[in-house]
Amino acid sequence: MGLEKSHRAGCVKPEQGDRLAVYELGLLSDRERAEFELHLGECEACLESLYGMAPYAAAMAAEPGAAAARPAESAPARPAQARTPVRVPVPGPGLAHGVRRLWGPRPWRVLVPAAASLAAAAAIIIVFGVPHRGHEQDSAFSSLARIEPVPYVSVVRRTVASEASRRFDEGMAFYTRRRYADAARVLSEAARPAQAASGVEPPAGEPATPGAGVRDLDAARLEDQARFFLGLSLLLAGNAAEAAVHLQRATGSPVAPLADRARWYLAQAKLVSGDPEGALGPLRELAAGSPVYAADAARQIEQVRAAIGSRRPAP
């Protein structure tokens, strides 16, 4: 709480400073807002706190329904079925501003009904089969994998979408309808123009256009997302080996939550491929520093080590 403690301690008028949260969401009357903005002129602690939270506050104010979405409640884990090994829950109610929510249980939430997850992972292998390159299928390790669709929030745009962005949306539409092979096909196309657009060098013979660098940042982010969901879709479609290639690349994303998710699913892909040693690397990274996956990764490391130990021949 360091920053905010110092903010409260440093606020020159705490009865005004306490209005920061409601101010950010635009919930003060015009007169109260004007008073608070005057306070910001004399209180560096409040101004700094506002600056620090600004992108998130603006996102919450712009899309409050999406920000308030509750991942677990709308989608309790369900038992696996024979032909639909992995399920994306139906959209949850109550979202405003045209934002659709297609929440699946998050990996860390799914740990409780572990039996359902394990059955789903096993069913993937039964229904689709898993291609393996360099590793023999090993049900002892693949049964440790926890594979669930990641929740995906689609934000309604106010700007004109780029071609790559439209392809990404098209791929994600397949993803949310559980058509993972189709999603993978379209997302692999979506990653290409994003990749080209995010290159640091302009095409041969073309000058660098003003603004290109800024568009590149967005394109790079889109590519990271497309790469991650491409890997996940391949994994959900039963192609763990190819999934691992894309997930490995997505682990380099500068967006921390995305990189962490990529590490988690990379580990799952390695487990499904019968490569437990390969799974341990990303799991260790998550256990060392991921605020979301640390506990689950540590638990899975123990399980993987136990499984490896049980398979070693007795001396």
């Binding site: 709480m1 919930l27 620090g52 992108p55 689609s154 962005s165 921390a256």
Partner: protein
Amino acid sequence: MESESSSGPAVSLDALATRALAGDRQAEEALFSTLRERFLAIAKRRVRGEEIEDVVQDALRVVHGKYAGRATKVAILPWSLVVLRHVIGNYYQRERRRRRTMAGDLEEVGAGALQEAAPPWTDPLGEVQMSDLIQRVVQAMDLLDRSYPRCGALMRRLLESFARGGTPREISSRALEMARPDFPGLTPGNLYVTLHRCRARLRELLERLEGSGAAKRPRQP
């Protein structure tokens, strides 16, 4: 009378922005003069002395070009601060490249020239970034539920009420009613203080998520 009310102390920046967009030049001057002061206060802590004014002017130029088209639900000051963060971020990038170039890393020069030529005028809350931000807020809210369940409940009630719309007073009253089952003692008087504490916890979690990037994390051998 218009000029008095435009620059008077009881007019919010959003009201000034509305008037400015309707053609009130004095309101626009008052708006950008106030924004400049706030930007300077922030930039002076982050930018080298001789470049502070340049950074602030860059940010003001972006705000001026974009504020008519911003999402109306987002107040102008928090929105403008997002722009300032982008401009300061670009400044840091330029500084890093300059240092690398001075150190003789010629491979960086080509990429640096392209980036440096790029003005920071993309929408700071463009579609991709907004999606990233919301995904992270959702993650942080999930952590808030687990770490501080009452705070999680209160913040969700507020956001849910906000999503339903209405005047600020209606949204606050509705959020208060929705939160009462979880907070029997909550009154309009202590709502602000409680929300402020919960915001602090949410921010702490967001910072933890921000700080969990691969680059900042020690890698396992």
